[in-house]
Amino acid sequence: AQTVTQSQPEMSVQEAETVTLSCTYDTSESDYYLFWYKQPPSRQMILVIRQEAYKQQNATENRFSVNFQKAAKSFSLKISDSQLGDAAMYFCAYNILFTSGTYKYIFGTGTRLKVLA
């Protein structure tokens, strides 16, 4: 089965501290992309970071970085120097080849991150 598991429904972090959100997935594909999306209270989902599975180097975007372990099928998100604006629901996802040559995403159930002042 193609699944994405986010085992932490909710997490809290102190402002300026570092937090790691976990994600594991299950796929038999050898090449795919992994993503983290952020959904703030405004509900607009925003792409935070992406990782190509064939690239060993972990992706980074400013304060956001990933720890990608392909063999373990693990894709965690690290947020450094947490800010109040980071408070949101975070979704992990990967995409797979669907029908008609189109790719579709498989999403996890999300982790709600609270940032404490």
Binding site: S100, G108, T109
Partner: protein
């Protein structure tokens, strides 16, 4: 500023009504998607379209249909709304290809009473 626009932010409909949810994107994306989001279940794909007049069923298409007559517009139709279709509906679009992220709309929270 590029965007995906969903016509309604909140919608309340009665059981049995035919409901139309509209989504428009201005990025010339080939792909468009409809998801529903429920607590504890994440996002589940209802339908998607990879070209005008082309559509594919997602994971939970029952009770829904879609229409894509123009590239920029993708409509989700609830043929006969039921209370179990009360949910948040998210529209997204992307370029064709595996590495492109989605651009999402702000969602429509539909309540069926």
């Amino acid at each position: 500023d590029v965007k995906v626009t969903q016509s309604s932010r909140y919608l309340v409909k009665r059981t049995g009504e035919k409901v139309f949810l509209e989504c428009v994107q201005d990025m010339d994306h080939e792909n468009m998607f409809w998801y529903r989001q429920d607590p504890g279940l994440g996002l589940r794909l209802i339908y998607f379209s990879y070209d005008v007049k082309m559509k594919e069923k997602g994971d939970i298409p029952e009770g829904y249909s879609v229409s894509r007559e123009k590239k920029e517009r993708f409509s989700l139709i609830l043929e006969s709304a039921s209370t179990n279709q009360t949910s948040m509906y998210l529209c997204a679009s992307s370029f064709y290809g595996p590495g492109y992220g989605y651009t999402f709309g702000s969602g429509t929270r539909l309540t069926v009473v």
